[in-house]
């Protein structure tokens, strides 16, 4: 049952060896965005939803950075292990089956994403944008956002025949999603159908949970938002296992 842990530990050991480059890559980008946009654009804006723009953007940035880390790890890194290095093939000679590998990869990508999210939360707190200890509840939210995007990312990976495949997902799914999910500006400003589409996607639900928590309030409809993230994680994981079994039975 816990066979997947050895796959997780393999990836963790690689991460530990490449720690500096990896952390820099995952954190520098979102933090530069946060302070650049937050202070730069924030200077032009009075306040958004009753808070400073940078405080508003901080919670969104926490979710989007978590999403990106989960997606990159579960797609580009996992694909290189599966396709280029044939690491998965080597693992499958041992008493592990493809479901173990898929589970290990998803939980690993979610863990790495969680680290990005929680470090951003720490920076937010350090700069005084976290209103109360309630912000700590954004930690499990970040893990759940990570799980949802890792699962979906891994579906892409086990379906991919080459690297190009991921550009479609990045450009056509993730980039629009980040624009309509309330990361940079309140999603309520969007036209009705666009907002309705955002509500079907996991990122919007993550932001709806994280933003009030960082601002020191309990989120409304928390169970609904959690439920959507859990469904994405479980459905994605199940789909990834089905497609991976098909790919590896060839």
């Amino acid at each position: 049952m816990l066979r997947f842990v050895s796959v997780w530990r393999r990836n963790f050991l690689v991460w530990r060896k490449l720690f500096v480059a990896s952390v820099l890559g995952n954190l520098a980008d979102p933090l530069i965005m946060l302070f650049g946009l937050g202070y730069g654009l924030g200077a032009l804006l009075p306040s958004v939803e009753g808070m400073s723009y940078i405080a508003f953007f901080a919670a969104g940035s926490l979710c989007s950075a978590t999403m990106y880390t989960a997606s990159f790890e579960s797609m580009f890194s996992a694909f290189s292990r599966m396709h280029g290095q044939k690491t998965w093939d080597a693992i499958l000679y041992a008493p592990l089956v493809i479901d173990d590998v898929v589970a290990g990869e998803i939980v690993w990508a979610a863990s790495k994403a969680w680290l990005t999210g929680s470090t951003i939360l720490a920076v937010i707190a350090l700069f005084g944008f976290a209103a109360s200890p309630l912000a700590l509840l954004a930690l499990p939210v970040a893990f759940l956002v990570g799980l949802a995007f890792s699962s979906v990312g891994l579906v892409m990976t086990v379906l991919a025949r080459g690297w190009d495949f991921f550009s479609f997902y990045m450009t056509l799914v993730l980039t629009p999603m980040i624009m309509i999910s309330g990361v940079f500006f309140p999603a309520e400003r969007l036209p009705g159908p666009v907002l309705a589409a955002a509500k079907l996607l996991p990122l919007w639900h993550g932001v709806e949970l994280a933003r009030p928590l960082v601002a020191g309030r309990l989120p409304a409809h928390a169970l609904l938002h959690l439920g959507v993230l859990v469904i994405y994680a479980l459905a994605g994981c199940a789909a990834a296992m089905v497609f991976a079994r098909r790919r590896f039975s060839e």
Partner: protein, 304 residues
Amino acid sequence: MNDAALEATGLRKSYGGAEVLRGVDLSVPRGECFGLLGPNGAGKTTTLRLCLGLIAPQGGEARLLGHPVPREARVARERVGVVPQFDNLDPDFTVAENLVVYGRYFGLGEAAIETRIPRLLEFAGLAGRAGAKITALSGGMKRRLTLARALVNDPELLFMDEPTTGLDPQARHLIWERLRQLTQEGRTIVLTTHAMEEAERLCARVLILDGGRVIALGSPRELIAAHIEPQVLEVHGAGLEAWLATARTLAPRVEHAGETAFCYAADAAPLLADLAGRSDLVYLHRPANLEDVFLKLTGRDLRD
């Protein structure tokens, strides 16, 4: 309770309508070094994958160390090692880390693996290289590390897919030496190879596969005796075309392939007498080997 390390009956497998295996039977007793031979596309790798329980057959069944696979493949593979055709070592890790991480997949504890590492490295001729990076290893060293990795769980049965392809003679001989050692320890080895010389040296029995069917099975010596005249003369040179008619009267079987004639005979003396002193023909006289059997049974045409 049967004592076969590996047993398969009537294995069938097709991909997209193309039949790769059309009913393959094999049985490997414990402690035997068994060779799986065949031209490219004959179904060797598919047979290995089925026996490991990595894929399911459309027909027939396989038992690996007594466990039906793929149903109980996980349990069976706890006692199995695999050396794949292409190295898939972890390039981010050192030599020792590769072994530690791989041992964990078998549920082995850190301490248990650490105590095995020196012996495994010694066995693979990699003593003192525990901290070396994979990128710093030669092709032969990588192959040996892959062998060490396959032994991390102390397996009863070892699958090796073309273990010496691309290695220099020194590295090849070391691998052969180690495989003999492993069979002497009572382990079973299932080997695929294109090097007939290797199969002849190492394998107690070989199975020749072609077009997804078993076309021959037996010890190398039996197969040579059953299919081929014991003496072979390979003849080439400018006068070959003219000499062929004579050759056919002196040898029971002559195969003409390109610029060379292969003459197979129980007694090579008449051929040798006829060729003595001829300057327009060059010849090589040798005993028949497994490669002759292989080529006779599977043909000389190229396979891709």
